[in-house]
């Protein structure tokens, strides 16, 4: 659907050049919600603006359904842009127009007949839950309502792709949740491919299927949400995961490990979904002659699916522990924690 084919974007300003996007290779499949996370200045906005050619790539190309955006003629580009909706952190609504006319605006620009505009706007306002606000002006709306108008406006021309540039970064957590739920419905009911960028890991955790981590213009890591959350490789990724999940090993446990008197068997167990932790741990202690002691960790939700990250200590005979580990490894991820583990 969207293919960044080794895309680089260099900004030239007063004699100096700056590589905002550096050789990015990325594929977003149809119907996917793809999140790109990175700190401020990482080049995320530049990346997303390359999709609808608000920025032109310096080298490489952005392909939409195998068509190179940069090769389009002006009129073709305008046509193509109507198939790409975009929403923004600060909403960017027209202050001089009410909700109805803001949503109608892209259709009216495209020369759609009034009658058609009317039925489409009514339908979309219904979808985003703002039917009763159609005559209000943006300055009379809350942030969440403004973003709903932004989403309605982006959907008006029935796009195939929705680009979200920090769409929830100006909203409180409660409102963020409701906007993210709405975006999920956008994907589910209209089968729209969503590319979103954010600096908040909880946004990624909440809605994305795939995630890429961006740093200094480069994608340093990408994969499914489960892969990246359960096994982050790059330090920056680990830091992001840490913002939403307790995965640091507490000081007290490290102290236990450095206890030289006796050797301890401490493991990190990660599991998802049906491999719910408790039965497995109790089965281990029943089936083998070991005691299982949960030292630390949490079970959280990734896209509505439980995701556990526990640190446990196994106590017992060496041979029994080995058997228990063997058993555990058949259903969950297991990693020994050592005194020097990160």
């Amino acid at each position: 659907m969207i293919h960044f084919d080794h895309v680089t974007k260099v900004y030239e300003s007063n004699g100096t050049s700056f590589k905002a996007v550096n050789d990015v290779e990325l594929k977003v499949e149809k119907g996917e919600i793809f999140g790109v996370i990175g700190f401020s200045g990482a080049g995320k906005s530049t990346l997303i603006r390359l999709v609808n050619l608000l920025e032109r790539p310096t080298s490489g190309s952005v392909l939409l359904n195998d068509r190179d955006m940069a090769s389009l003629k002006k009129s073709e580009l305008r046509e193509q842009r109507r198939k790409i909706g975009m929403i923004f952190q600060h909403f960017n609504l027209l202050e001089s127009k009410n909700v109805y006319h803001n949503v109608a605006f892209p259709l009216s620009l495209a020369g759609v007949p009034k009658k058609e505009i009317d039925s489409r706007v009514t339908e979309i306002l219904e979808f985003v839950g703002l039917s009763d606000k159609s005559t209000q002006y943006p300055d009379q709306l809350s942030g969440g309502q403004k973003q709903r108008v932004g989403i309605a406006r982006a959907l008006a021309t029935s796009p195939e792709i929705l680009l979200c540039d920090e769409a929830t970064s100006a909203l409180d957590p409660e409102t963020t949740k409701s906007i993210l739920d709405l975006l999920k419905r956008v994907r589910d009911e209209y089968n729209i491919t969503i590319l979103m960028i954010t600096h908040e890991m909880n946004v990624i955790r909440e809605v994305c299927d795939q995630v890429a981590v961006m740093e200094q213009g480069q994608l340093i890591e990408q994969g499914t949400i489960f892969d990246v959350f359960s096994n982050p490789k790059h330090q920056t990724t680990k830091n992001f995961v840490r913002t939403v999940m307790q995965d640091e090993i507490p000081e007290s446990i490290l102290r236990l490990l450095s206890d030289q008197e006796r050797s301890r068997h401490i493991y990190r167990i990660t599991f998802v979904n049906e491999t719910t932790g408790e039965p497995i741990l109790s089965r281990v202690s029943k089936g083998f002659d070991v005691e299982v002691n949960v030292l630390h960790g949490q079970i959280t939700e990734l896209q509505g699916v439980p995701f556990g990250n526990l640190i446990v200590e196994l106590q017992g005979e060496q041979s029994e522990i080995l058997k228990a580990i063997h058993y555990l490894q058949t259903s969950v991820q297991l990693k020994e924690v050592t005194a020097h583990a990160g």
Binding site: N52, L54, L77, R78, E79, Q80, R81, R82, I84, M86, F88, H90, N92, L93, L94, E95, S96, K97, N98, F105, P106, L109, A110, Y137, T157, L163
Partner: protein
């Protein structure tokens, strides 16, 4: 020295008419020049919608040139041009030409600053919808800036009231001329006070109307 005010009332009335006429006509023509020029300054500037460095530099220099000439000098300096356009170099019509040349570039600057106040994000959002540059100018920039444009045109109108007072130099008449001719040069203080008061009232009325119109647009 006492003046018989009765003989002056018709004169004052006529002068008021001349002032309103000069300001009104000059404002219309100055806006016809200033609006497109202001839009041109915005779209041709670096990173503008139709970015055009050389054209922007030329337009910018022209506007600055006219803005730097004091009105009283402009009035005299362009007498030949005035004669060419309105067929005469004296009278109310002749005063309108320099007023337009004085106010047009000023309005261009005011329009430019109003349009630049429009959030770049809104322009970008419209670009992302597949709008043409003209659609962005006429359907985003101008409507979004309208309230501020009205306030700025009000400023230009009041500037014209002030400048029109100097129209006496080319026999343009008007309240300013009356104040100088009778009040200042003949020491008829009452006439001067009355004409100045009338100018104050005119300025107040223009500002009030402008403010209310602008507020009405902002409040939708």
């Amino acid at each position: 020295m006492q003046v018989d005010l009765h003989t002056f009332w018709p004169k004052i009335l006529e002068a008021t008419n001349e002032t309103l006429l000069m300001v009104g006509i000059a404002l219309v023509f100055a806006s016809l020049i200033g609006l497109p020029l202001g839009v041109a300054l915005v779209v041709t500037r670096p990173n503008g919608l139709l970015q055009n460095g050389p054209l922007f530099k030329v337009l910018n220099a022209i506007v600055n040139f006219f803005r730097s000439i004091p009105f009283i000098i402009l009035l005299v300096a362009i007498l030949p041009i005035t004669r060419l356009i309105v067929g005469t170099s004296i009278g109310t019509a002749a005063a309108v030409v320099p007023l337009v040349l004085f106010s047009g570039p000023f309005i261009a600057r005011l329009v430019e600053s109003s349009l630049l106040e429009v959030e770049p994000g809104v322009v970008e959002a419209t670009e992302a919808m597949g709008a043409t540059s003209w659609q962005i100018v006429f359907r985003v920039l101008i409507p979004e800036a309208l309230s501020s444009l009205v306030l700025n045109i009000t400023i230009a109108a009041i500037g014209l009231v002030g400048a029109s007072a100097m129209a006496g130099f080319v026999g343009g008449g008007g309240l300013g001329d009356l104040a100088i001719a009778y009040g200042y040069q003949r020491f008829e203080t009452e006439v001067m006070i009355i004409t100045v008061l009338l100018l104050v009232v005119i300025v107040q009325v223009i500002q009030t109307v402008g403010n209310q119109l602008s507020r009405k647009i902002r409040r939708h």
